[in-house]
Amino acid sequence: MARTTPTYTPVRNYAIGFFLSTFLLFSDINYESFSELRGTVKAATLYVKLSSNRFLHNIGDIFSSFQESNNLIQENTNLKEEINRIKTQNSLKNIETLQRSKMLDSFKDLVDKFDNNIDIHKIASIDLKNYLCCSSHKIFLQNPQKIQIKENLPVLAGGSFIGQTSKQYLNLIEVILFSDSNHVLPVKSDVFYCNARGMGKPLLISCSPKINIKDLGSKIGDSIYTSGLGGIFIKDTKIGFISDISMDSAGELEVIITLLGNPLKENFYGIIGNLVDET
């Protein structure tokens, strides 16, 4: 008696499809072969979304232009955006002031560069689904003037560094956040230096300093600063605080750091340009 159902399921075509997709998946995961294509599609989708939003917004404006309150609402929105913009600029100035007080002479050139090389960009999109659940933590910033932005430039928001530029698609800038599991940031505390890797969880990065837990001397709540060793970020800028200290399964010390800059709360981001020689 036949034990299988009489369906015609030629395995050859499935096997070809299976191997083809496995090959594509392998090449994308290991070599990021299709990251450009995926980024372009994502940017194009966002572009269409933003354009249609703008279009709908304009239509809405036409309908509501007869209402007296519309102007007030618009003015309110503009003021809010202006406040956000000023807040971001202020945070840049704060860092500037901090750095100035610490090493005024050596930092002078850098401060001069800051004044000329800070671009403020509004957020276009955050991949919220991945941000809340998965390893990939990226945001897209609007770049309507299509300014050429170099890769790996520091990005600021909410008074702290939050990531660095990775790619540019159409008129959007992709920013990889510190919490992305592919991002590594050299950090330091008062007692240790280490390379902190993103944990793939919102606001969390972790690192394993090569010292004993007894010698660590740090405690939960201690501030963490950029070390400047990567050549991207200015050193001694506070980026977070220690939120947990534990031993992992291999017996290595693991320090969990909670970041200060929360991309979910920020609308405007500052990109600091041409800082390749800060170290």
Binding site: Y14, G17, N130, C133
Partner: protein, 159 residues
């Protein structure tokens, strides 16, 4: 089947993935990952196996990978594999109860989620998430089954 019908089916799958993207950002904190897109795809294969063999799932997977995935080939691989498994047992499924179907499709869906986390985001792999998602997707399958069946009958004028 006409090209327009294939497009309608593709749109329904894309819609499923859009719903996933929208809802999962809230539910993932409760260890629930809904899988509308994959379940809708599975439903179409289950309901009309003679229309979908290996090529159409491959193309559907390609489109979904382009717009929704963080790795190219992931959905292609799972769509082709799921299509093959459903084709193998399609007539056995006909005599399955709703409960058995729910268990099978929720299991497939959880396997999809588990592989997604293992391959693309191993740091966030969680057994609690898989167990809770299994239960929610099992319930979800029943809803998707009836809604999609009505939709299919409406679109393809099945009496």
């Amino acid at each position: 089947m006409k090209l327009s019908n294939y497009l309608i089916i593709l749109i329904s799958i894309i819609l499923g993935f859009c719903i996933d993207t929208f809802i999962n950002q809230f539910t993932v904190q409760l260890f629930i990952e809904l899988n509308f897109g994959f379940l809708i795809f599975s439903y179409w294969i289950f309901a009309m196996p003679e229309r979908f063999h290996s090529f159409i799932p491959l193309i559907y997977g390609l489109v979904i990978d382009l717009f929704f995935s963080t790795a190219f080939g992931f959905n292609m691989l799972f769509f082709v594999a799921t299509s093959y498994v459903i084709h193998l047992y399609v007539f056995r499924f006909r005599i399955f109860s709703y409960f058995q179907l729910s268990v099978f499709f929720a299991g497939s869906s959880v396997f999809y989620i588990a592989c997604k986390y293992l391959l693309l985001s191993p740091l966030n792999y969680s057994y609690i998430l898989l167990i809770v998602s299994f239960l929610t997707n099992a319930i979800l399958w029943v809803g998707i089954y009836f809604v999609m069946r009505s939709f299919r009958r409406y679109i393809f004028q099945v009496t």
